[in-house]
Point group: D2
């Protein structure tokens, strides 16, 4: 296959205000032919320069109403224009520009980059197959300072980890979900709702939180919550990269440290991941 | 000199709520002695492990009411405890954890990382000299989609840049300022006010903005605005790393692109920087 | 599944000389159970801390004669020790320490890091399935200053790329191959031979090189060369990330630039990849 | 001041062989004027686009016989061409392409990137001042597996570090030195000699090494060795970023680990640095 990545900015007006979408688009193509590899015959090869031009032309003509719609447009274009394309996948990721506000007043043309979780999507299609749309959020860093533990795990002669019922839970979250048939979805609205669900399930109620007995259970809670609240989601994958924090032992320094000063442990580094679909969910 | 970097988390309660400060502290020491370099005599050397312990103990004992106060505490400790220290500098940088909110309600113990500009500070002192405190913000990415140009510059046979009166102004901002005598400053409050001043000066009024004839002038506007509004600031340094955006030429593709689709130019990469002090300001 | 990454150094003596292996080991486990996700029941969960301990204990007991043998040892340990493990995959990557030489004499205990391509391997096993071993090289940056072109490709209204018969070919290579049944392989020796084959196929004969009509053909040449020379390789995947170089147009500056000064084009960025197996090879 | 960074490749022939220099050039200018900052008057501003053009034109016209000569050419050009330039500094860094060899035969046009220490240089000049040339090496990662300790350091109530006489010494080295009057220097030859001196002083004799009582002493040994062997060096600065390795305690796992398995300690992270000049050296 061949791959091309292009980053660009699409500017348009909504009334008097400037709107800006900066995206990175990565397009994968797999051709039906093999002659370019085996014989050096390039007659069916679509240069990355052409892929780039097509992405830019579609952005100019269609605009970017949502990342998902733009990815769908690109897939459709390649499938309908080039019969030598056997498979196309388009990944679109957003630079998180937000409009600046001064004393609550939105600025007409100024923006600030706020990377508190990056929105992305993916559309893919095999020739004669359905177009499948995924969306997701990545690089979302979250922390709970309490209401997290890890006890009752499997033990043998290589176990040195003590049981803990009050630890820090901190990690970087990656979530990716697929939509079913995408008829008339408001992708922007659904995405915002899912982001809220993720935060709610991670944190629990604002006044007391919810106890997490493991990273695994927190991953599952996020998946269950999204599936139960957002009917358009078919399958959801969650990966949680853990950052562990150790309470600094200050006995040798003559002090008692009761979960006040902690240092992040860079190694060992762990993550846990799970993919949960709607059927499995209802069967469980 | 010797240098040590330690990253840690300081947790405390404010009423029922958990509060969290995660900081990276880098401490530089220069000793009065040279024997450790010339003779391998370590008798005056303070191991980095000891520096680390001291930083952690001070965090435990004093807490971190502000980055600046914590940096001052560290400098004071090293100057008063070790007579072999000729110079100490402490740099403190914050991990931008923000409390999560659900429907406007603050969560009791859950946080999200929002890196829209990183707060840092620096305190330094030579033996027998004053303690000087700096504060700053870095990695602050801003964009204006209009109200920016660059015309009337110097031209010779190597000039190929066209004049432009409506370009994108985009860049990453670094600001660092020094305070005078730091008696009873509310460092957290002042820092927030300066951040607001920076955004105001960059963007101009929310309804129309303000024309920027160059990156240089924007840098200067930020400096002037901060100096005029925040009396505690003595000297302010601003560096603006530019990201240029080129309008994609779509003539060969049969389209007219009027500042709708642009690509960032990764090379050449430029920046402009200026340091402005209070006296210079009033004399200018 | 759960994942753990640990980086460590294994030191041993060969005669009077110190030998050093610094590796990063990433172990993935998938359990037969789901109760840890669904119910928060941790009784079958193997903590990442235990995984880390096991990797370190195996390094201490067995040493690291080759990355591949070490990965095999880890997989075997998890499969035979824990009946709740449904699948294990171990990735091992080397820090490329090389012994220092002074005037051709090898130093007894000093090393330099030379990252001209990073060696890695992977071993994976499903319960009741065979143990499969992969090896590879990544981050290998290569350049040909001539004997490369790209002509005769597919053209339509979105094509703007000119045909070229003398361009720079530059890229970062990733190669990963699988071994069949690994009885008594000398993994270190085979890996070195494959690395040589890759370089030979990329560059062609030292006195004249070999013309590359496309990145695709170069990828295929590498695969064919390795498969024909190294009988232990079953399947080989090659990914070549392209860096394009544009000849700087100096007409406006009054100069003729004949492929003397070129700038790398960071966007658009492309890559091409192919996986080739032995059967497919002989059938082609 | 204003700054511009440009990365490019300079290709030329030596006999039948292709030679390649890929460099990143960063040019700083400070103007005599302040009107561009204060008034938005750009009439003396040299656009970064023009700076880029000049660097490329000089590369085309003069070639890059050495990084240092190229940096000198750039400084000279700016000082003699633009009277509004008060100060110019040019930093040049090399992409470490090395010619490929097959069975010892050098390839006519193929190269591999080998980043075992990056060569760089700097030339700077104030109007009416001398042109000063620096050269250096950075990102040079070295390790000694023995012949290193740290004992007899300063101790107080915050000391927890045990004394050690056989530890790993590992770090990333940065060296930068200045030349005096640069009449007819063979910069490439001198640079290679200094690199050798650095490695010799770090490692000691190949058969037995040399004991290092501290990072500080190793830094000093490198400086002394370079100053004594290379008369053209006036002042040398060395920074050594330490990576500490801890011997894994395996008592709880029923094993005795005698400096066989070690893990790198990512925090606390330290470095030590020293600048040593010729006069100070002879007086010491």
């Amino acid at each position: 296959y061949g791959k091309n990545t292009i980053k660009f900015l699409r500017l348009h007006k909504e009334g008097k205000k400037d709107c800006v979408k900066e995206v990175e688009v990565c397009t994968h193509l797999r051709l039906t032919s093999a002659q370019e590899y085996l014989e050096g015959n390039n007659s069916l090869v679509i240069p990355t320069d052409t892929i780039k031009n097509i992405v830019l032309v579609l952005a100019k003509k269609n605009g970017i109403s949502s990342l998902e719609q733009f990815a769908i447009d690109i897939c459709n274009h390649f499938m309908t224009t080039f019969c030598q394309v056997a498979y196309v996948k388009t990944y679109v990721q957003e630079v998180p520009w937000q409009r600046l506000h001064e004393d609550g007043v939105p600025h007409i043309h100024s923006f600030i980059c706020v990377p508190d979780g990056i929105r992305f999507c993916e559309a893919e299609q095999c020739r004669n197959g359905p177009l499948i749309v995924f969306a997701g959020i990545k690089d979302l860093k979250l922390m709970k300072t309490t209401q997290s533990g890890f006890e009752g795990f499997y033990k043998n002669e290589h176990t040195t980890l003590p049981e803990r019922h009050d630890r820090i839970l901190c990690g970087e979250l990656f979530c990716k979900w697929s939509y079913g048939e995408c008829k008339d979805f408001d992708f922007n609205c659904i995405w915002k709702k899912i982001r809220e669900c993720i935060l709610e399930a991670f944190a629990g109620p604002p006044d007391c939180g919810e106890y997490s007995p493991s990273y695994q259970k927190t991953v599952n809670s996020i998946q269950m919550h999204v599936l139960s609240r957002v009917s358009q989601v078919q399958v959801i994958e969650v990966v949680l990269n853990n950052t562990f924090y150790n309470i600094v032992d200050m006995k040798n320094l003559g002090l008692t440290n009761e979960k006040e000063v902690l240092v992040p442990v860079e190694a060992p580094y762990g993550s846990c991941a799970c993919t949960l679909g709607r059927k499995k969910f209802f069967e469980a």
